[in-house]
Symmetry: C2
C-alpha cells in the first residue's frame, strides 16, 4: 500500500483518542476526586464539600453539573425542611470505577515507594 508505516496503524490513533476522550470527561482538578468520593457512597452537597478537602462551593457546583451533563452523576432533590440534595453515581458513572480503582492502587503503592526511598 505504499505508505512507510508512519503510524503502525489506525489502532494507534484509536488508542490516543480514547485517552483523550476520557481525559476530557474527567478534566480539571476535581472531577476524579468527586467521582472517587461518590464511588464510596452517595453524598449531599455539604458532605462532598467537607469530604473533598479545599474545594470551593463554586467549583463543586460547576463540576457536579459537568458530571451530570455527561450522565455520570445523578442529582436528586429531597424534600426536607431546608431542602437537601443528594448526589450519586449513575450506573454509567460507576463504569469509571475500574479507572478510579487503578488510580487508588497506584497512588497507594507510589506513596509506599517514596517512603522506602527515604530510608
Amino acid at each position: 500500500m505504499g505508505d512507510e508505516t508512519k503510524y503502525s496503524a489506525e489502532a494507534c490513533e484509536t488508542h490516543h483518542r480514547a485517552i483523550r476522550d476520557t481525559m476530557d470527561v474527567l478534566s480539571g482538578k476535581w472531577k476524579l476526586r468527586i467521582v472517587g468520593s461518590l464511588s464510596l457512597s452517595k453524598k449531599r452537597f455539604m458532605e462532598l464539600r467537607n469530604h473533598i478537602d479545599g474545594i470551593a462551593a463554586k467549583m463543586l457546583s460547576k463540576e457536579l453539573q459537568d458530571l451530570e451533563i455527561n450522565n455520570l452523576v445523578n442529582r436528586s432533590v429531597i424534600n426536607t425542611k431546608p431542602i437537601t440534595v443528594e448526589y450519586e453515581l449513575t450506573a454509567y458513572g460507576q463504569s469509571l470505577k475500574p479507572i478510579i480503582d487503578e488510580m487508588v492502587i497506584w497512588g497507594m503503592q507510589h506513596r509506599k515507594q517514596l517512603k522506602n526511598k527515604l530510608t
Copy 2:
C-alpha cells in the same frame, strides 16, 4: 472513640490521598498521552512530537523531564550523526499500564455510547 463517624474511617482519607497522589504525578494535559504513547513502544523525541497531536516542543520537553524525575520514563542519548534521544517507560512507568488501559477501554466505549445516542 467519641467521634460521631464524621468520616467512615481513615480509609476514606487514604483513598482520597491516593487519587490525589496519582493525579499529581500525571498532572497536566500531556503526561498521560505521553505515557500512553510510550506504552506502545519506545520513541524518539521527534516521533513523540509527531505522534502526539498538537504538542509543542517545549511542553513535550518539560513533561518528559517531569516524568523522568518521577522515574516513569527513561531517557537515553544515542550516538548517531546528529544525536538522537530515545524515551521509554521504566519498569515503574509500566506500572501505570493498568490505569492507561482502563482509560482506553472507557474512552472507546464512551465514544461508542455517544454514537448510539445520536441514532
